[in-house]
């Protein structure tokens, strides 16, 4: 195996190396050093930024691993998206980890990096084996990270005093109790979806006799057993993306898991799931998804409707953003239901916009709650007067999520509606626009709490430097790209076109001497 066959995979490989570097640095640093967290977090952010810069320099296009992986503009776009989300997620979590898990910070960053490696491979996978392995590499670290609110102090207390650990009522009041529940829920949903996807794939792969995606079920009328298999795969992936009717874990996990982690969980793995869905359903059908677009359109309509309506009565902003996330994924599925290059581009653009807006909103929420506040609407009361910076940021992120000009979210929604309209999905566009107005109502309810309600306390929440930087970066991206969306739009268009091109040319799967696929 020469370097050339691995060149398209160089970005995920670099992140793997980064994960190992952080792991070793964690071992090398003295355990009780006060600067430990800053060094590890800073190192992780620096390494991720380095890989991000490299993604602009290194040419990663081409086939790798005997055609099991294809690098093109589509994979580069998603790689950058995951790197940015990862860096923002690390910045946002640094102070939280230092305060709550000082001895396990290195593990947090390492697991996060491994999850990012999995995400980066998914969009370019052309072989189901690689896709499944990468998808699980993305998912398994997330289960561990969701349980991370458990503090080191609580752990030692329980070990030294076992009698107390069994007092369930007492234990349930501990601050980490919801995290344990959130983690087990995320895990059970994830493991179930993996099992469902695997069973579906076993039927599809068994009928096709190959694991190569290109034309896996290309026949005009697939065998009934293949259809059943694909339904199961679609259901399994829908669990991961969190769309109706497989969405009930989303608000619960968002409410229970540590908020800086939720900021990452709510954007990056969703983008990974969408990428997997696109790869399986567009490439597997050889670019003619046919009636599968109908199934995806139904999921889109259900998600937009149920997500937006269930978000309305929520008072806990984490749950509100959870249901709103269900709705937002509905819009992305609407773009995918078009099944053409323009739709794919707008989906990629939407996911990028969603990274900045949703992560930003969760990070502001975390900043308020971390300093003795709460995650509900009352906790945000008078935020604009307590801290103009946080208030303004929150307003910007909410407007972006709602799709108000001229935030980045506005362009994202506009492009999706235009693409869907051109593809003839007029009914869904009308439904989506109406529901966007419903969305505006609950987003502005949060903004109202921050701007119109009298503050219950005067002091501004203390916000650490790293968290402040993460929020500022999100704000700059959401507002800056909103005023000048051209660069992002251009690279998203390139990404969609490159995936679409690899379809129309039939994705030549070169049979090299070492290729052992039957």
């Amino acid at each position: 195996m020469t370097f050339d066959t691995l060149r398209p995979l160089v970005l995920p490989l670099a992140v793997t190396a980064a994960a190992l570097v952080v792991l070793l640095a964690d071992l090398a640093l003295p355990p009780n050093s006060a600067r430990r967290g800053k060094v590890l977090g800073g190192l992780t952010v620096a390494l991720l930024s380095g890989v991000l810069v490299a993604s602009f320099v290194v040419d990663t296009s081409g086939l790798a691993a005997h055609g099991a992986y294809v690098g093109n503009a589509w994979t580069t776009f998603f790689a950058r998206l995951f790197l940015v989300a990862g860096a923002l997620g690390v910045l946002g979590a640094m102070e939280h980890l230092e305060a709550h898990a000082p001895r396990r910070q290195g593990e947090y960053y390492t697991l996060l990096l491994f999850s990012i490696v999995g995400m980066m491979i998914v969009p370019g996978a052309r072989d189901l084996l690689l896709l499944v392995v990468a998808f699980e590499l993305m998912g398994i670290p997330l289960y561990i990270l969701a349980a991370y609110a458990k503090t080191d102090a609580a752990k030692t207390r329980k070990v030294s005093d076992p009698a107390r650990a069994f007092d369930a009522a007492e234990a349930a009041k501990a601050p980490h109790a919801p995290a344990a529940e959130a983690a087990i829920k995320l895990y059970l949903v994830g493991a179930t979806s993996t099992a469902i996807t695997l069973f579906g794939l076993s039927l599809v792969v068994g009928m096709a006799g190959t694991t190569r995606l290109a034309g896996l079920f290309g026949a005009e009328t697939p065998a009934p057993i293949t259809v059943v298999g694909m339904m199961l795969v679609l259901a399994g992936l829908s669990f991961k993306i969190g769309v109706v009717p497989f969405h009930m874990w989303v608000p619960d996990t968002y409410e229970g898991a540590p908020t800086p982690f939720v900021a990452f969980l709510s954007v990056a793995p969703k983008a990974g799931g969408i990428a997997a869905l696109v790869v399986v359903f567009l490439l597997g059908t050889g670019g003619h998804p046919g009636h599968w677009t109908l199934a995806i359109a139904v999921l889109a309509a259900a998600s937009m409707t149920i997500g937006n309506l269930l978000a309305l009565p929520q008072t806990d902003v984490r749950r509100l953003l959870g249901f709103s996330g269900v709705a937002q994924m509905g819009y992305v599925l609407l773009a995918i239901a078009t099944g053409n290059a323009e739709g794919l581009s707008t989906a990629a653009f939407y996911l990028a916009a969603y990274v900045f807006s949703n992560m930003g909103a969760f990070l502001v929420l975390h900043a308020v709650a971390a300093d003795g506040g709460t995650h509900d609407l009352a906790g945000l009361a008078g935020l604009s007067r307590r801290s103009p910076f946080l208030g303004l940021s929150l307003l910007a992120f909410l407007l972006s999520l709602a799709g108000i000009p001229f935030m980045i979210g506005f362009w994202a929604k506009l492009f999706i509606f235009l693409a869907a309209y051109r593809a003839g999905l007029v009914g869904l566009v009308v439904l989506g626009s109406v529901l966007a107005v419903v969305g505006l109502f609950y987003y502005l309810q949060v903004a109202r709490a921050a701007y119109m309600v009298e503050p219950t306390q005067a002091a501004a929440p203390r916000v650490g430097g790293a968290l402040r930087a993460a929020i500022l970066l999100c704000l700059l991206a959401a507002a800056g790209l909103g005023l000048w969306p051209a660069p992002l739009h251009e690279s998203a268009s390139e990404a969609g076109a490159s995936l679409s091109n690899s379809l129309s040319t039939g994705t030549p799967a070169p049979v090299s001497p070492g290729d052992d696929s039957q």
Binding site: Y143, K150, A195, I196, F199, G206, G209
Partner: protein, 99 residues
């Protein structure tokens, strides 16, 4: 034993797993049910491979085994965390979050 009976057996195993997943309240039992579902997939992979020739299915089953083992390792750790937190591994104990 033909291909279709093997697949039917796998589908039955999968259904039993789904049933257990929906009715069991004990975290370990739920984990076992999910395992049953994953192993139904493995059975069907191997059955296709056996009756239709080729090693693809067996290869996939090996990968699937490795993945589910990694997943179960994390799952059992989380069950342990649930036990330390609530002193119980029935999922009823963990109902602080709505839904």
């Amino acid at each position: 034993m033909t291909l279709s009976t093997s697949i039917l057996l796998a589908a039955a195993m999968f259904s039993v797993g789904v049933y257990g997943l929906l009715t069991r309240r004990h975290a370990v039992a739920i984990l076992l049910s999910v395992e049953l579902m994953a192993n139904a997939a493995n059975l069907s992979f191997v059955a296709f491979s056996h009756f239709r020739g080729g090693a693809t299915g067996q290869l996939f089953a090996l990968f699937a085994l490795a993945i589910t083992v990694a997943e179960v390792a994390v799952g059992l750790a989380l069950v342990l965390l649930l036990y330390r937190t609530y002193g119980d591994t029935r999922t009823d104990a963990a109902k602080e979050l709505r839904g």
